[in-house]
């Protein structure tokens, strides 16, 4: 029995390591390019295979057959090591993500995670932060000033955004009292409340920091195409570049997975206690998980096609001067809400209503502001037909 359990773990590792890059290459990249194409009034790749579905294969062939170039005077070993250092931690972190509840296969119940360790969340944070070494070393070893600047930017950025990210998760830990990702999901099932509601603020801080952690727009400064000419990966080509690419996208998957697990009830279907919505159970739990993760990946793409890029000092300012204090205050608020009603969840529910109300209010105010600005704009410059 024990042997088979070990074997099963190995099988799961192999499946994970084999499927995630494939998903990245074939689904996410294609989806990103097609969705961005849609948002930007153009088509996106549609030539390779039906509707461009085989674009991933074409990209793979291109990257693998490209010349693998190491610049003269580069630190060859470090230059080689850097992309590896980005990918491996990213893939490792996936081990503790619960993709769904245990599945019954005959008499055996097979959990849909590789390992449920009692420090799961900490493990994810710890392992993903190793990935930054890949970027720093890659930038430094390339013997290129632009790459060096990119590497330094990523170092500063990742270190400063780890802090608010960790702190935002602390407020969730107050509610779960467990670091195990499986237990976090089970707790949300038991109290019929996704932590995104009492932890709305924490979620926003987490996701903003997460976007910054993965170097994506609007925080894509380390690669900043238009400033640093791809930054840390300027001097990388072929498979090594593909590894950086894979690392970045796997990072996105992890941030999304953790967001779903911690804040959005993991594999749980929404509103389990509303009888009218029972038909939602048709979708298997794993399906729910995928849908939710897909939504966050979509958000990444959405951000990319909407926002300009922050400047380096502004990025640091946002992290240290805004997200960090707000995250600390949030811990206090959540702690008070929990302490006010010990042993029950009333405090969390009340907090959910407050946060929800504030969110709706702010959303409406932002819309109003947008509307007014548009009106001013049109008033300031008369319409052509008004002449």
């Amino acid at each position: 029995m024990r042997l088979s359990a070990t074997l099963l773990t190995y099988v799961k590792v192999v499946v994970l390591v084999a499927t995630v890059p494939a998903i990245v290459g074939f689904v996410i990249v294609l989806a990103e390019r097609r969705i961005m194409g849609f948002m930007q009034a153009r088509l996106g790749p549609n030539r390779v295979g039906p509707k461009g579905t085989l674009q991933g294969l074409a990209d793979l062939v291109k990257l693998v057959t490209k010349e693998d170039l190491t610049p003269a005077d580069a630190e060859r070993k470090v230059h080689f090591l850097a992309p590896v250092l980005t990918v491996i931690p990213a893939l490792t972190a996936l081990a503790v993500i619960p993709f769904g509840p245990p599945v019954k296969v005959g008499r055996v119940s097979m959990p849909l995670w590789v390992a449920d360790i009692n420090i799961g969340l900490l493990f994810v944070l710890a392992v993903t932060s190793i990935g930054v070494y890949g970027l720093i070393l890659g930038g430094w070893a390339s013997n290129n000033k632009y790459s060096l600047l990119g590497g330094l930017r990523s170092a500063a950025q990742l270190v400063s955004y780890e802090v608010p990210m960790g702190l935002s998760l602390v407020s969730v830990l107050l509610m779960t009292r467990s670091l195990s990702l499986v237990e976090i999901v089970e707790r949300q099932r038991d109290i019929h409340l996704w932590f995104v509601f009492p932890g709305l603020l924490a979620f926003f801080i987490y996701f903003v920091s997460g976007v910054a952690e993965t170097n994506r727009n609007p925080f894509d400064l380390p690669e900043a195409e238009s400033e640093l000419v791809s930054g840390f990966n300027t001097e990388y080509s072929g498979v090594k570049f593909a590894f950086f690419f894979l690392g970045e996208y796997t990072g996105m998957i992890i941030i999304s997975c953790v967001a779903v697990t911690v804040f959005f009830g993991g594999w749980l279907a929404p509103f389990p206690n509303v009888a009218a919505l029972n038909f939602l159970d048709i979708v298997p739990p794993f399906g729910w998980f995928l849908v939710k993760v897909g939504f966050f990946l979509f958000c990444y793409i959405w951000f990319r096609s909407t926002f300009p890029r922050y400047r380096f000092d502004q990025l640091m300012g946002l992290g240290w001067k805004w997200l960090l204090p707000v995250a600390l205050a949030n811990i206090l608020i959540v702690a008070l809400a929990i302490l006010a009603t010990p042993g029950r969840t009333d405090g969390m529910v009340t907090l959910s209503w407050i946060f929800g109300g504030l969110f709706v209010l702010m959303f409406l105010l932002a819309k109003l502001r947008q509307r007014l600005a548009r009106r001013d704009r049109l008033a300031a410059s008369p319409h052509a037909r008004a002449v």
Partner: protein, 399 residues
């Protein structure tokens, strides 16, 4: 030199050169560097760089990411255009002007023709004047659209680029239908225009122009009130009106600093005098204000285009010009408001069929002078924004 394996002698030479360069740029012997001593870095920005909008090279001295000094190095696209003018007859010069500001060829043609027309004292028929203004304004729109898209990309906003280029494509379609070319138009002649408008052109243009205010609002919605966009542009590269004038800056940069100077208003040419349009200005002189000025100029273009289309009537498209153009010996300067600023041609004729000297006042070149001043003290990321806000075309800078 022929290609082939690099010999040892060549390697030695290269090493010696590198050594010499290193020795020359080494800091003067003095204090030994400590852990906290600041080391400046020299960064070569361009000529192959996605944000220099061509082959501009800027040598930067940076402290971390902060710019201590920025030295533009130009000339990578120098083709001796001004000298070429001297070797060819007057009409043969027009296609060369296409290659100067290749984002806005029509305005170049216009300024060149205007100088020679001034030399000859030709009167331009009204229809030709109106069509010239239409072409100019379309060109201004397309130039501003290119500027909007590319400077958005410089700051990481990719989407406005595609919207702007969607409209620009349509404008290029109009040009193509008119003169057969999309970029290097060669669409004006001394004394008027080469062709009349094709049937239906004006109606289609009217439809397009009617649609434009909404499209411009699309771009504005993405950028104007965007918090990050404002953070990246407000207070970046501030230049006062006095400094602008000292540097000789013109166009949206000058107007962004609060000076309502527009040659279409100040020294009206063609039929601008009778057209009703505003000269947008902004007080602060930063990158954001220059952005707003350009966007509002696009809205004014729409107004001008509508009025021109309404006034369009049948008539001649070319004034009375001799087949062989031999202007009397004299010197003239004629300038127009190009999308980038004052574009002028200074022509010296000596009575032959070729100009004795043809000098161009290119707005991009003169506006680029301000870059070291604007960039000092800002970060590398801002430099990208500043190159974008000056709106240079290297074909015009180098000529």
């Amino acid at each position: 030199m022929t290609s082939g394996p690099i010999t040892e002698a060549e390697k030695d030479r290269a090493r010696a050169t590198a050594e010499a360069v290193r020795a020359a740029s080494a800091p003067p012997p003095g204090e030994a560097p400590t852990l906290f001593s600041v080391q400046e870095m020299e960064l070569n920005f361009g000529p192959q760089h996605p944000s220099t909008h061509g082959v501009l090279r800027i040598v930067l001295r940076v402290d971390g990411e902060k710019i201590i000094e920025a030295k533009p190095d130009i000339g990578y696209l120098h083709r001796g255009t001004e000298k070429l003018f001297e070797t060819e007859t007057y009409p043969m010069g027009i296609p060369h002007t296409d290659r100067m500001d290749y984002i806005a060829a029509a305005t170049n043609n216009h300024a060149f023709c205007l100088a020679i027309e001034k030399l000859l004292g030709v009167e331009i028929p009204r229809r030709a004047q109106l069509i010239r203004v239409i072409l100019d304004e379309l060109q201004r729109l397309s130039s501003h659209l290119v500027w909007l898209g590319t400077s958005g990309i410089d700051l990481g906003a990719v989407t406005p680029f595609w919207y702007a280029f969607r409209e620009r494509e349509q404008i290029l379609d109009f040009f193509e239908e008119y003169c057969g070319a999309r970029l290097t138009l060669n669409c004006m002649r001394i004394g008027g225009l080469p062709f009349d408008l094709t049937p239906g052109w004006v109606e289609r243009l009217m439809e397009f122009v009617d649609d434009l205010p909404d499209r411009i609002d699309d771009y504005e919605q993405l950028l104007t009130d965007n918090r990050i966009w404002k953070k990246r542009t407000v207070g970046i590269g501030v230049i006062s009106a006095e400094e602008c004038i000292e540097y000789g800056l013109t166009g949206p940069i000058l107007r962004g600093s609060g000076v309502a100077w527009d040659l279409r208003r100040a020294q009206p040419y063609e039929c601008y005098e009778e057209l009703d349009f505003a000269v947008p200005t902004r007080p602060n002189g930063d990158t954001y204000d220059r952005y707003v000025v350009r966007v509002q100029e696009m809205r004014q273009c729409v107004r001008i285009l509508t009025q021109c289309i309404e006034r369009l009537e049948e008539g001649e498209i070319r004034g009375k010009v001799a087949r062989v153009i031999k202007p009397p010996a004299q010197e003239v300067y004629a300038s127009i408001e190009s999308p980038k600023g004052e574009l002028g041609f200074y022509c010296v004729s000596n009575g032959t069929n070729r100009p004795y000297r043809m000098h161009c006042r290119p707005p991009s070149f003169i506006n680029l002078q301000a870059l070291p001043r604007l960039a000092k003290g800002h970060l590398i990321s801002d430099l990208v924004a500043l190159i974008g806000t000056i709106d240079i075309v290297l074909g015009e800078v180098d000529r």
